[in-house]
């Protein structure tokens, strides 16, 4: 694995005697999307505030590209794009003026770059209207735009899909994947939508009571179990067993071990045998089930 871009070493945050983050360590890597999960009050937002320098550490260190957030803030944060909770913009100004405002705080963000980002997030038509007229989804897009302006190597997103419609969420997910892969950006996403995290992330870390309690990789593009509903079931059963598929039959639904890329082959074969296929879909133990198991069923939101 490549060198981590972000390192949290034994970080602790105590406010008025209350330990919010307890000796936590975490590493984030370029090109990887890491999901950040935890029940209410687990310390997700506090961790993000510590990583962005909005709050000061009680002890421990956070380094981004080798620069310490505490000692070398301006250098460390120069590589970071942030959306903390809802992207609160200056509502009395246009989206464009907001971006212009933030671009002046970074080195080397040109007007052409602003236009490019506006185009990327799909706000070209309404960018010169006041932010107060924007829908929540449009504000999210503008929030993403301001986070991407300076081409950051590390992106922190707190509840980024909040307020986006399904098409928007999908587009957003694809876009994040793209910049992670093509620009080798490290992305850290906190969300309460577990299915969202599951679809978006390569890796998930779970926090509870200010401590990391689990960390695992997700292999979302290699779903190995499929469920199949097709009739007549005798023909299907016959075909599957004679072609060496591992499967079970339960109430007219077949569960079989099958890689995603093999699905079209199976469908073609079955259709050729006059089988009627009603549904085929991937089966996996959802992250939600795992998450509830880990955190003891606490509130997630």
């Amino acid at each position: 694995m490549s060198k981590p871009i972000v390192q949290l070493k034994n970080i602790t945050k105590i406010i008025r005697g209350k330990t919010l983050i307890d000796n936590m360590s975490l590493e984030l890597f370029p090109g990887q999307i890491t999901g950040f999960l935890g029940p209410n009050g687990a310390g997700k937002t506090t961790t993000i505030r510590l990583m962005t320098g909005l709050m000061h550490l009680t002890s421990g260190t956070i380094t981004i590209e080798g620069a310490s957030i505490a000692d070398d803030y301006e250098k460390a944060i120069a590589n970071v794009g942030v959306i903390v909770e809802n992207p609160e913009m200056y509502k009395y100004m246009s989206g464009y003026k907001n971006l212009l405002h933030f671009s002046r705080m970074h080195n080397g963000v040109t007007k052409a770059r602003i236009d490019e980002v506006i185009n990327q997030v799909g706000l070209t038509k309404r960018i010169h209207e006041k932010v107060s007229t924007y829908s929540l989804g449009m504000r999210q897009r503008l929030g993403l735009a301001q986070a991407l302006l300076h081409d950051p190597k590390f992106l922190i997103l707190d509840e980024p899909t909040n307020g986006l419609d399904p098409a928007g969420i999908r587009e957003f997910r694809t876009y994040l994947r793209k910049i992670a892969q093509e620009n080798n950006v490290s992305i850290f996403v906190s969300s309460h939508l577990l299915s969202e995290i599951e679809l978006m992330c390569d890796r998930v870390v779970v926090i509870q009571n200010g401590k990391l309690i689990d960390e695992r990789m997700i292999q979302s593009d290699e779903k190995t179990r499929m469920q199949l509903k097709a009739e007549p079931s005798g023909v299907v059963e016959n075909y599957l067993s004679s072609n060496g598929y591992v499967f079970t039959l339960h109430e007219g639904v077949f569960l079989l071990d099958l890689k995603e890329e093999k699905v079209p082959v199976l469908i073609n074969e079955l259709v050729a045998q006059q089988v009627q296929i009603f549904a085929i879909s991937a089966v996996h133990e959802t992250l939600e089930e795992q998450f509830l198991q880990m955190t003891g069923g606490g509130q997630i939101v």
């Binding site: 962005t52 909005l54 200056y90 100004m93």
Partner: protein
């Protein structure tokens, strides 16, 4: 730093409140000028020499009254001296409103300008907290020190712009409506009659008013930064600005008020020589103000740089 000030300036002028402030100031300046013009009665000044002679005769007659008290004697002596001076130097009195008079009016509304600058001064930091935009502003490769400095400079630029605008407008409106002064005002300093120079008086009033202006803005800025609530900050700064002398008079019995900035912030006391507590020197006043200014600034910067942002 320039681009940060540019940012703050842009945000300031995108708020409706800023335009309302400008509107109020324009209304007062233009309104008072027009009102003065409408209500002004032109006084014929062609026979001013006879009038001055009447003044002298009147004073002489009054001075012959037996058992006249000391204060009245002084008053009639001064009346006589001034009239005599006018006759000797061919110096007609200024009776009608003039450009110079309108300029003096401009200097007299420095309190209003201060009040109007205190409003954005109190909210320029605190509103970022109540709007939640502070987290967008701070997660940039710019130190908190620079961000706060840019906000402070912007507010002073705003206030100074209002002052410059007032000077230009009162002069222009005064000139258009009334023309330059046709007469001369006199004062008596240490028993000697002197011609007053209105322009330099106006200039001095502006300069001495900067004491209250600066202290009120620094105080509002400090409260706005520490409490991060625009309404509390505006209310407190207004209270101190409007009721400053009253607060001092109330506190006078209990604490040594000469060490409170409110006693000194109105530097025009040194111009008029009318002190609302007791006479102090200009250097004493300036020392107290500088110390308080440093305290307000230090507290503003310390809280802003140290604080954990939860907004």
């Amino acid at each position: 730093m320039f681009s940060l000030i540019q940012n703050e300036w842009m945000k300031l002028w995108h708020k409706k409140g800023t335009w309302a402030i400008l509107g109020i100031l324009l209304l007062v300046i233009i309104g008072v000028g027009v009102l003065d013009k409408v209500t002004m009665e032109e006084v014929d000044t062609s026979n001013w020499k006879q009038e001055q002679q009447v003044q002298i005769d009147d004073a002489n007659a009054q001075l012959k009254t037996p058992d006249l008290d000391e204060w009245s004697i002084q008053m009639y002596e001064e009346q006589k001296a001034m009239a005599q001076y006018r006759l000797d130097n061919n110096a007609a009195p200024q009776v009608n409103q003039s450009m110079e008079g309108n300029m003096a009016f401009g200097a007299s509304i420095m309190v209003l300008i201060t009040l109007l600058t205190v409003i954005p001064g109190a909210s320029i930091v605190s509103q970022e907290f109540t709007d939640g935009t502070i987290k967008m502003l701070l997660t940039r490769p710019v130190s908190r020190f620079k961000i706060l400095t840019s906000k402070l400079i912007t507010i002073f630029l705003f206030g100074l712009s209002l002052i410059v605008l007032t000077i230009i407008l009162t002069t222009a409106i005064g000139f258009i409506l009334f023309g330059t002064a046709t007469g001369i005002d006199l004062t008596i300093v240490d028993g000697v009659v002197q011609q007053t120079n209105t322009i330099s008086d106006v200039f001095l009033t502006y300069v001495y008013s900067l004491g209250d202006f600066t202290m009120s803005i620094l105080f509002a800025f400090f409260i706005g930064t520490v409490f991060s609530s625009p309404s509390i900050a505006i209310a407190l700064s207004m209270l101190f600005l409007m009721m400053g002398p009253m607060i001092i008079l109330l506190l006078q019995k209990y604490i040594p008020v000469e060490y409170i900035w409110l006693t000194h912030s109105d530097l025009t006391q040194h111009l008029t020589k009318e002190f609302f507590v007791e006479e102090t020197t200009l250097s004493m006043s300036l020392t107290v103000l500088v110390i308080y200014a440093i305290v307000f600034l230090a507290l503003s910067f310390m809280t802003f740089i140290k604080r954990d942002v939860k907004a």
